[in-house]
Symmetry: C2
Subunit: 414 residues, 2 copies
């Protein structure tokens, strides 16, 4: 482990082997940098589950939050380029180069025109939320506070030769009265930390820290970061800023009357922004839920057992279904019946020992493995093995769906 002091290499390999991250060195490097990589099918589902939980937590809470969408690319100039990354189609550039009759000066003029007409890729969702503030006022009857939420890919300017990077961001822009903005920042920081910890195996790895005064960004007066303690150090998952109303006014050309809201007295609201990086969130939960156990229960052998103890609502595969080698055609029909509509993935695997198969499922974080044997069709009985207890139970086919639903929703309501 001299080459791999924090076990990072082994961790990455596990993520690749168990279909969380697609193979390839460039790809795992992106993943480790906390930007979007090509995920494997399990990673795709994990990120989906994480985003779904985030969306629920902000839009279905008692707070008034609406979903919005901004386009990936826009032509907006209201911000003077803040939050945006200018791009030019290389086809247009090629076309210019081929015009041999142009002098150097003419070429430069044409290039300048191209830059002026260039469109932008969004680098965050804040600008979109500031623009959508005015059309949303009708929905809330000009009453504060309320929020606008969005998630999806955002872009970062290239830092080297590799072109712009992509990050799966979440964003909540919270509009509130000036005198309450500081309390709201604290409220959301607390809510967000609670959310991250809810799904953690070891919650203390997630913490919140105040942004030091010297790191405050333009237009912000206070900041809080939710960070995760990775084996190689702390990295931010989510950042909250108290931003005042400067940017809101700037976006709407300083027209106070358009922006005024009611909350006791009339005022132009202040903005609290909450921005998360869900690619790094995926990595944090994978890191956090990997347990290395020294002893296989009930066995005499000393084994290293790795279990990815992802929270039940996050686990991409709730149930893996193994169909015995016999009676193939009839058993296949079991698969498509409604009992397995909770089995989000059904994996048919290489016939191998049950022990090896379960070890693989544990590393994938599969909650339950169900074995359909040759006599299941007659007896209706299935063997159900739990990831967390390693205990095998026999259950009737009619109980399974309810059992799983109850198990997952119990974990959700903890």
């Amino acid at each position: 482990s001299g080459d791999d002091p924090h076990g990072v290499g082994r961790f990455m390999q596990l993520c690749v082997d168990r279909h969380y991250v697609s193979p390839g060195h460039t790809n795992t490097e992106l993943f480790q940098r906390g930007v979007s990589c090509v995920y494997g099918p399990l990673g795709v589902e994990l990120r989906r589950n994480l985003l779904e939980q985030w969306w629920r937590s902000v839009t279905r809470s008692s707070a008034q939050v609406f979903g919005i969408n901004t386009l990936c690319r826009s032509r907006d100039t209201a911000t003077g380029g803040r939050g945006q990354l200018g791009i030019v189609e290389s086809g247009c550039l090629k076309h210019l180069i081929e015009k041999h009759e142009l002098s150097k000066e003419q070429l430069i003029q044409e290039l300048e025109k191209l830059i002026q007409r260039s469109t932008s890729l969004r680098t965050d969702f804040l600008q979109g939320a500031l623009e959508q503030f005015v059309p949303s006022l009708d929905l809330v009857n000009r009453k504060l506070p309320f929020g606008l939420a969005e998630f999806g890919p955002c872009f970062r300017p290239s830092d080297g030769s590799d072109g712009p990077a992509e990050v799966t961001q979440t964003s909540l822009a919270w509009f509130c009265s000036p005198r309450t903005s500081s309390q709201w920042l604290d409220h959301w920081a607390q809510q967000r930390l609670k959310w991250w910890r809810k799904f953690a195996l070891s919650p203390s790895d997630f913490s919140s820290i105040d942004v030091p005064a010297e790191e405050l960004e333009e237009a912000t007066s206070r900041g809080v970061r939710i960070v995760y303690s990775f084996p190689w150090g702390r990295e931010p998952l989510e950042t909250l800023w108290s931003r005042g109303h400067t940017e809101l006014l700037q976006t709407h050309k300083g027209v106070h009357s358009k922006l005024q809201c009611r909350d006791g007295r009339k005022s132009v609201p202040h903005v609290v922004s909450v921005t998360g990086n869900m690619d790094r969130g995926v990595m944090a939960f994978l890191c956090n839920s990997l347990q290395q156990l020294k002893k296989e229960d009930g066995m005499q052998k000393l084994l290293r057992r790795k279990v990815l103890k992802l929270h039940p609502v996050l686990a991409p595969v709730k149930v893996a279904l193994d169909i015995g080698r016999g009676a193939n055609m009839e058993l296949r029909q079991v698969r498509s019946t409604s009992i397995f509509c909770v089995a989000w993935r059904i994996s048919e695997t290489v016939p191998t020992s049950m022990e090896q198969l379960n070890a693989k499922y544990d590393e994938m974080g599969v909650l339950f493995a169900v074995v359909v044997s040759e006599n299941t069709l007659e007896s209706g009985l299935l063997q159900v093995r739990s990831r967390d207890t390693t205990i095998r139970e026999t259950k009737h086919i009619s109980e399974i769906k309810n059992f799983l639903s109850r198990y997952i929703s119990a974990a959700d309501n903890l």
Copy 2:
């Protein structure tokens, strides 16, 4: 209606007024073109619901389908640019122009380098699926058929001065044995048409047509389009192609051994691609579900009543909650109790007549309007009004959640 022969203008205005589409001429124009626009909060939720239903229908069917993700931008050259749109950061271009010492030839050389190093925005998901085919083989034990699914924004080269457009696409790449590919194309075309019709108020507006031989694309041997009959003509919502294995081989540099799968005999699979445009899908369902009724039931007045009869699972607002003007603080607490976790949006509206309010909700497609009156806290009774029947019923607060859940899941299982 001479200026607006198909009522398109009025329809667009309704979409804007009722928060499906964000205001602005450029924006409604994007919407009408069937590309991504800035949606209003209700439009965001409608698109989310539609995408969620699509995802379920492909990944939780009895067919073996895994979710994948490709990056918005990539540097891949395996395809020679197929499915990709080259871009250059305008910052880099600016930097070059400022180097005054460059001769024209040197400038052109530098520009050529920039083009060579340019990254690309994806124009569809097919290339990503072809690349993920090999790492996915392990999950299915090299057994055919199986599919790889993805959805999200894709880009289109600019057709004018407006820069690249954006479309919310869905993609299923289905890998099957060569001898079954034509049957699978028919199977998926049938499944997809069934899916669109499931949510329609008038299903016959959705239909499928074979792509004429002269419109076949390179590498495709057959095609089917799912189209919607808009008032101004038919437009495609989803396109299915039988594509053979040419592109799959090309992506993996012709290495047959890496690609061979089992389905009876060994073979390099054929690909059936299913690509949908969910921005146009949103427009189709909005068009399809708008009903204009001439008479308000139970009234003597002749009124034009507009109702957006969106399918219950698609409707963005299941319940609108109106809180009477009295007893404000206590009633507010009702709002945050669990009975309303099914109320995806809670709108507090300008006090106005009940009739006007219900007319507004009908145009928004709100399934049920619940009125919390001053004596609700004592009696526990609420008034529930249905969009589809316009009937008002009094229900106890404890029944509401179950009533709504049952109503929605009944509609889902039709």
